[in-house]
Symmetry: C2
Subunit: 134 residues, 2 copies
DNA sequence: CAGCATCCCAGTGGATACTG
DNA sequence: CAGTATCCACTGGGATGCTG
């Protein structure tokens, strides 16, 4: 007998075929977060271990504290990052990945590998495309 | 002797540690494309097979032709999508994935699986976070 | 059919200054 | 230290209308 298709993770074509191309879908949701400028950089940075606010700011040299705070809040809201406040003076706050956040690292690593492996090809393609335009 | 680390694909922490957090890096580049609203949807749609412009528009119900054209051009520029013009009357244009574009499908599928598997957890986390705010 | 051109709005993200 | 508050510029992206 065939398994009920809806109970296992959808493959890419299946997801599209099933009408998940709109924003009712997990993929869009996840892609939005992955796509923003800082989320994944923060996730991989925290992947190396828990980190305090100021340490994160140092690790991400060109992020503004506004975006750091905001992105951290978003990640926390999505359950990817945990925030621990130690009521010392001055206050210290430590951020870390939750189990859910940790589980994102492997898929992300796959993507990063592809990015590294394909970057040269992409640059060549761009150069060729742009050259034609002249 | 130890291998020169720079010659193999970087892992996520390595990439960050190596100072690739800025925009000199492949990852940013790829994440930008992945993050935009339509690129990946088009890629997975073309993953099912070559497709004409109007067919793509039908497959992606809520995309505007402006964004379809533009995203297609970007993907073509990056060497992920090929554009074949058949000089018939009226003209027909077929889009398809290049080998490079095809090679992106598996990494993407991994991410989609994660998205499907984690979506519920994310929704729960959000609900919990938002509830506290009350 | 497969686009390009134009206009316009909303959201994203940067800079800066201030606070518990 | 770890934020919040304001202001502002840029651009992604939608709507519409025209063309080879």
């Amino acid at each position: 007998m065939n398994m009920p298709a809806a109970r296992r993770p959808l493959t890419v074509p299946e997801a599209v075929a099933a009408g998940f191309s709109l924003d009712n879908c997990p993929i869009r949701d996840v892609l939005n977060r992955i796509g923003d400028k800082w989320s994944m950089l923060i996730v991989v940075t925290l992947g190396a271990g828990p980190c305090r606010f100021s340490a994160l700011k140092r690790a991400l040299p060109d992020i503004s504290q506004r975006m750091l705070t905001q992105t951290l809040r978003d990640l926390q809201r999505d359950g990817l990052v945990a925030r621990a406040v130690f009521p010392t003076v001055p206050p210290s706050v430590e951020y870390s990945l939750t189990p859910l956040g940790l589980s994102l690292l492997p898929p992300l690593a796959v993507l990063v590998e592809w990015a590294n492996a394909s970057h040269d090809a992409i640059r060549v393609a761009r150069a060729g495309y742009d050259a034609e335009g002249v």
